[in-house]
Symmetry: none
Subunit: 156 residues, 2 copies
Amino acid sequence: MRQRHNRLTVVKELIKSNRIDNQDTLLEMLKTEGYTVTQATLSRDLKMLKVGKISDGWSGYYYALPDNDLISESEKSYIQDVRRGILSIEFSGNFGVIKTRPGHANSVGIALDVLALPEILGTLAGDDTIFVILREGMNKEDLQDSFKTRIPEIEE
Amino acid sequence: MRQRHNRLTVVKELIKSNRIDNQDTLLEMLKTEGYTVTQATLSRDLKMLKVGKISDGWSGYYYALPDNDLISESEKSYIQDVRRGILSIEFSGNFGVIKTRPGHANSVGIALDVLALPEILGTLAGDDTIFVILREGMNKEDLQDSFKTRIPEIEE
DNA sequence: GTATATAACGCATAAATATCCAATTCGATG
DNA sequence: CATCGAATTGGATATTTATGCGTTATATAC
C-alpha cells in the first residue's frame, strides 16, 4: 500500500517535464512508470502537490507546479552548475578567487549570482577564474559555511 | 448582443479582486454587476482571458489571471508597434510577406517575435519588408485568426 | 494475539467545466 | 432590401475533476 510518496515524486516529475492537460493522460504516463491507480487517487495527488492548471497562452490549459516548487527546482540546476564547474576557492582579504574548469567560470558565476548568497557582494567571471567580492563584515569562513549548506557535497 | 468586451473587463476585475473558486459563484457576481449569461459563456470568457486555477496553498483552488497580464502592458506597446508600422500581408505557400512603412520593418519584426504567435516560425526584416515563415502545419488563415485576436483593429 | 485507529485507495457518483450545435444578431456587400 | 458571413450566445450534453463512503492494509495499544 505504502507507495504514495514515491508516486507523488513521479507525478511531480512528469508534470514538470511534460505538457499535460488532463488527468487521464497523466494516468497513462503513470502506468508506464509502473504506478497503476485510479483517477480518484490522482486527483487527490494533484491537490496534495498543489498543482494548478494554467493557460498556455493560446489554445489550451496544462498542469503546472506552484511557483515555489519551480524556483527550488531551477535552483537545483544552478547548484549543479556550481558542482560541475568549480575546482577551488582561495581568499585574500575580502576577495576570493574561484578556479573553475576551462570555460565554466561564466556558468558558475551566474549560478552564484542567482543563488544570491548573502556573503557575496558581486562576482566577475573570466574563462576559468572568478573574482568574488565579499560583503562588508563577511569573511572566508562565513562564505564557506554558506557553501556547505547551500551547495552540499563540495569540499574546498 | 455586443456586450462581450465590457463583460470581459468586469470578469477580469472580479477575478483580480476576489477569491473565486468556481464558475457558478462568478456567475452570481456577474449578475449583480448586471451581466446575465450562462455558464457556457463564462467558460468561454475565462478561456479567452487565459484565466488559470491555482492552489491557494492549503485547502483549495481559485481563479487567477495569468502572470503575463503584467507583461501585457509591455505587450501593448509591441502591439502598437505592429499597428503603427504594418501596411499589408500577403502569402505564398507557407511564406508571408509583410509590407511596412519605410523603416518600420524592424520594429514590427521585433514585436512579432516578442508576441510569439504560435503560427510563426521566424521572421526576417529588411527596411520596409518582413519575411514570415509559417510553422509546419499552419496556414494563412491560422495566422490571420491569431492576428485578429492578438492584435485587434487591424484589417488585412 | 485482538481490538482500535488511521492512512490509502477504489468505486460510484456528484460537481465543475468545456464543447457541439442551432439560433440570433450585426455588418458588409451586391 | 436581400443575402452572406462572422461573431456571440444558450441549451443540451460530453468531458473532466472532486468527493462520499466502504474496504483493506498497516500501525498502535492493550
